[in-house]
């Protein structure tokens, strides 16, 4: 009985085996299987590329969907946000008002930076905290920026001062990305807080109070001097007072008279984000300790204002009314607005506030932005929020490390993990990679018609005619051809060198000074480069059956390089990778030489515009990117010049070259 069952079982297994593995010689069936698989893959490759590309783009559109994302939570148990009783009281508010009066007098008589810093340092000293000032100047191609910072260090009464927390305010608010609105109430809050916090002996970390001059420049001078990092175009007085390692920092931005909501800004230089625990703690404390509503950036939550929710969510007027009122649509619009704001900062590598400069030294920092309004909140709320948040970060025994560093904060309660959004850019980059590999294979093989006798130079893989030729198998066969890669590699190297030259050009004083005059000639000069290969290289003399055509090889290598860059940047700065995927994805996959010369030239010109159009169309953006690079070391400008533009120029060359 048992043997019969066993026999039956082995017979069934044998049948299955022969079904899957085929009968006859094992090697032959293996080769057949491999050929079938490669043939299938090759046949479905174009469809696969389109699928991947569209899946990537649709995923990007789906990121703001209300169904995605999860609720925020506090991961680090040591934080215990909102668990303390706060002592900040109306007497402290009164003191803040007094400080504000002093500052308003300074503003009234148009005091110099030195005078203001001296005044603030004196106020710190009156409180009884060691204080000092620091003068600095940056020389950029756009001119010289001067200023004076004031700062004070309150040593920890309970610990050795190995760690520190920074409470800062810049003289100019972040309103309008530093349009000149003064942050007087932010500065007076810091002064009043210094006075208040000094009275408590529970601080386990040093408290460092910084009033930085200007918007971003002052803090850059202060923080680089604090860490002893030299910067060639910066002169700054060395700091007289020092403290320990800074783990967390809060930057207070309170430009208005009062505020209705407390917003948070968190993007740092070069796309670095602070640990999410810090933001979540602040939200918990603001809601529960100070009872102030919170918002992301200064975007009001549409659900809070049912009457104007569609406008708040940024849904355009032409959308039909029933859709405009739909909760899911409103939520989608609100999230998309937050994500776009985030991507705008992150992709440019721009800091969304003064806090962002601290990120370069591994300090988790955020800006508390008091959204200007007629009321009802003021110094009383902001003092309590900062006091409680400092008490929370005071609890830390190690750097913030639990929680998340890669996230999209789509609402005050909701965030997207890296796995929810990263695949979108990676899918597009995979599509580019497959397109590149396809072009590479195409470059290596050529279909030869009706040559019955095998020709010399036919490769060992000539047999693969079966896999590619299909029904045409009898009329011809696939033969290999050489793929000389030195020429396309030379072109790629030349475009990247041209990109470096372009970057050098736009950082020259003469260009920055007369940008309007020079933008068009520079644009024309570098666009002309993409037509240069047309003059330099006459059509290859060898026949296309012996050697792969240059544009095909260039296309293959460009696509592979673009894919690599996109997928690797995605872990460093997702928004930048997504912008790359958006801008490179379709143009690069569509780049191919046309047959008529005018069409080739037209396509080449179009691609050159895509590569270099920003020079003419966005002069302000160029100026800001150059300033960011020179003062803050944001590598967005060099990245665009040395990576994005050359890749697009290579695509232009592919279009221009004769097929």
């Amino acid at each position: 009985m048992a043997t019969a069952v066993r026999d039956k079982a082995s017979a069934v297994i044998g049948k299955l085996k022969s079904l899957i593995l085929g009968t006859g010689d094992r090697n032959i069936s293996r080769i057949r299987r491999r050929r079938k698989l490669t043939a299938l893959l090759w046949k479905s490759l174009p469809a696969l590329i389109v699928t991947l590309l569209s899946a990537g783009y649709f995923w990007m559109l789906a990121i703001p969907l209300p169904q995605l994302g999860q609720r925020t939570y506090i991961d680090e148990n040591a934080l215990q946000p909102g668990q303390v009783r706060t002592y900040w009281d109306w007497a402290d508010v009164h003191r803040a008002d007094q400080y504000l009066e002093g500052l308003e007098q300074l503003r009234g008589r148009n005091a110099s930076s030195d005078e203001i810093a001296q005044h603030i340092a004196t106020e710190f000293e009156k409180i009884g905290i060691p204080a000092s000032t620091q003068r600095y100047s940056f020389s950029t191609t756009a001119g010289v920026t001067n200023g004076t910072n004031a700062y004070a260090v309150r040593s920890s009464p309970r610990a050795s001062g190995a760690e520190a927390m920074v409470i800062s305010a810049s003289w100019i608010s972040r309103t309008g990305e530093g349009d000149g609105t003064l942050n007087l109430r932010g500065v007076s809050s810091v002064l009043a807080l210094a006075n208040f916090l000094k009275g408590y002996s529970l601080w386990a970390k040093d408290l460092v109070f910084v009033i930085s001059d200007g918007y971003l420049d002052g803090m850059q001078a202060w923080i680089t001097s604090y860490h002893g990092v030299p910067q060639s175009n910066m002169w700054a007085e060395p700091l007289e007072l020092s403290s320990g390692v800074v783990w967390t920092a809060l930057n207070i931005d309170y430009p208005g008279h009062s505020f209705s909501h407390l917003g948070v800004f968190f993007e740092g230089l070069n796309g670095r984000l602070p640990n999410q625990d810090l933001i979540n703690s602040l939200f918990v404390i603001t809601r529960h300790t100070a009872a102030v509503p919170v918002v992301v950036y200064d975007h009001m939550d549409p659900h809070e204002f049912p009457g104007i929710k569609a406008d708040l969510a940024g849904i355009p007027e032409w959308v039909p009314g029933s859709l405009r009122e739909n909760d899911d649509v409103v939520e989608y619009g609100y999230r998309a607005k937050n994500i776009l704001r985030h991507a705008n900062y992150q992709a440019r590598g721009q800091a969304s506030g003064v806090h962002g400069l601290l990120h370069q030294f591994r300090i988790d920092a955020i800006t508390l932005f008091a959204v200007p309004a007629a009321g009802p909140h003021g110094f009383h709320a902001i003092g309590r929020i900062v006091e409680s948040t400092l008490r929370t970060t005071n609890n830390l025994l190690e750097r913030l490390h639990a929680s998340f560093f890669f996230y999209f904060l789509v609402g005050t309660h909701t965030f997207l993990k890296v796995g929810m959004y990263l695949p979108s850019a990676v899918l597009i980059s995979t599509a580019l990679m497959f397109a590149g590999l396809r072009a590479w294979v195409e470059a290596g093989w050529v279909w030869e018609r009706a040559a019955p006798e095998p020709e010399a130079g036919a490769d060992d893989k000539a047999g693969t005619g079966e896999k590619k030729g299909g029904p045409d198998q009898l009329k011809g066969r696939w033969v290999t051809r050489r793929r000389p890669v030195l020429k396309p590699l030379g072109i790629m190297l030349a475009t990247h060198a041209a990109g470096a030259l372009l970057f050098f050009t736009i950082t020259q004083p003469w260009f920055v000074a007369h940008q309007e005059a020079y933008a068009v000639p520079v644009f024309a000069l570098f666009s002309a480069l993409s037509f240069a290969p047309l003059l330099l290289s006459p059509p290859s003399s060898s026949s296309p059956s012996a050697e792969a055509p240059l544009p095909l090889l260039l296309r293959a290598l460009t696509l592979c390089l673009a894919s690599t860059v996109t997928s690797i940047i995605s872990v460093l700065n997702f928004s930048l990778a997504a912008s790359l995927a958006l801008t490179l994805g379709i143009p690069l996959t569509l780049a191919a030489p046309a047959h008529s010369l005018p069409a080739r030239l037209g396509k080449g010109a179009l691609y050159a515009c895509l590569a270099l159009g920003w020079l003419v169309l966005a002069p302000g953006e160029v100026r800001r990117a150059v300033w960011n690079w020179e003062v803050l070391r944001v590598w967005f400008a060099p990245f665009v010049c040395v990576v994005y533009t050359p890749l697009m120029l290579q695509a232009a060359v592919v279009n221009v070259l004769p097929p």
Partner: protein
């Protein structure tokens, strides 16, 4: 380009780079120098030695006593002298590579010489560690010199260089197999026409004896220099016991940071024996071509040895310039290239995310070392395949190679 012009130009360019501020930026980079090849640690050891302390009594110094003696007496390490020495090492190595190429082709010079030299001098995996003054550059130079002497049939010089190399880096002792194979045969390319190894077994023992004599002599010198034998555990022991878990681009460190202590000895044994098992089979399979066997074994060492730096895979990749006959038979050169491109971008990026920005962690860097391992493995496997596939030649009609 003319070799006599291009070679000095390349070397001069390298020397100039070494006098910029680049070395100061690179010299503490984990990917460019391991604890066993680090320049800073070497300086520390030399300083301790000159102050009369035993440098091997502490943790950080793990270089060979021979390097200690050279750098504390005849060749002081300064910001002026170091660029000269490290550039010279690279020049010697590149020169040796060209000589190996010539010996292999049995010619006095060719158009390809410049390309061969450039493949070594312009390889970023080679010149970045060299700019970081990693002593792996010295090891690479010794390895290629030994191979060059072996190709020229100068057995004593080859064995002496190999003994020195083994002294600096213990896993290199595995090269004794293919190098003696090479000494017993000829350096010419037999990949296309394999032939069985004509055994001249009686001439093997003298070679091994000579190597042993050199090796023991160097050991004796080292022991005399130190006055005791603690250096053995600190230098060679490190390859087997992995005491220092500083991250590097290899595959060992992360595995052993995660390991429970009671499994450690077993897996140390497994990892070390794993290296051993490749040597003999490779020498048997590629018995017709000693240079190719050495090349493949270097690839194995670069992928799997204990404290690799980028210069180990760099040596393997640069050496592939010696075997143009295998290129048409490589199965996936573009995949290997792309893997290396990804790995060489991911390694510094994830290192930065973990240790500078603080937004990543050790797993990020480990993942990038895995990509790097895959890239090295892909290059190695493809080289193995192509090296055998050459012999079958071009196929006509409906044939395909099932097994080599």
């Amino acid at each position: 380009m003319d070799f006599r012009l291009a070679f000095p130009a390349l070397v001069a360019g390298r020397l100039l780079l070494a006098y910029t501020s680049l070395p100061d930026v690179l010299k503490n980079d984990h990917q460019l120098s391991s604890p066993l090849t680090s320049y800073s640690r070497l300086q520390e050891g030399v300083y301790l030695f000159q102050q009369g302390f035993d440098p091997y009594s502490g943790g950080p110094f793990r270089h060979s006593p021979l390097l200690l003696s050279v750098f504390s007496t005849v060749f002081p390490l300064t910001r002026f002298t170091s660029p000269i020495l490290w550039t010279a090492c690279d020049a010697v190595a590149a020169w040796a590579l060209v000589r190996i190429w010539r010996a292999r082709q049995n010619i006095a010079g060719s158009m390809r010489d410049t390309l061969v030299a450039a493949s070594y001098l312009l390889n970023p995996y080679i010149f970045l560690p060299s700019l970081a003054f990693s002593t792996s550059s010295i090891e690479n130079a010794l390895c290629l010199t030994s191979l060059m002497f072996a190709c020229q049939g100068r057995s004593s010089a080859a064995l002496m260089a190999l003994a020195l190399l083994t002294h600096l880096s213990l896993p290199s002792i595995l090269l004794l197999f293919p190098v003696s194979l090479l000494l017993l045969t000829d350096p010419f390319s037999h990949l296309a026409f394999p032939r069985p190894f004509v055994a001249r077994i009686p001439s093997l023992p003298p070679l091994l004896a000579e190597f042993t004599a050199y090796f023991l002599g160097l050991c004796a010198a080292a022991t005399l220099l130190c006055g005791n034998t603690t250096w053995v555990e600190k230098t060679w022991g490190a390859f087997l016991l992995l005491p220092d878990l500083t991250p590097n681009p290899g595959l060992w460190w992360y595995f052993f940071t995660e390991m429970f202590d009671h499994f450690r000895p077993f897996f140390l044994m497994v990892f070390s024996v794993h290296l051993l098992i490749y040597a003999l089979p490779l020498c048997i399979k590629y018995q017709h071509d000693g240079v190719y066997a050495t090349y493949l074994l270097l690839g194995v060492l670069a992928t799997f040895k204990a404290y690799p730096t980028l210069s180990d895979p760099g040596l393997f990749l640069s050496m592939s310039a010696l075997f143009p006959e295998t290129y048409p038979y490589l199965r996936h050169p573009i995949v290997t290239t792309l893997l290396h491109l990804h790995a060489s971008l991911l390694l510094p990026l994830f290192h930065n995310l973990w240790l500078t920005q603080g937004t990543g962690n050790a797993n990020f860097f480990y993942a990038s070392t895995l990509v790097f391992g895959m890239a090295n493995g892909a290059a190695l496997l493809d080289a193995m395949w192509a090296g055998l596939r050459v012999a079958i030649g071009e196929m006509r009609g409906e044939c395909e190679v099932a097994q080599e």
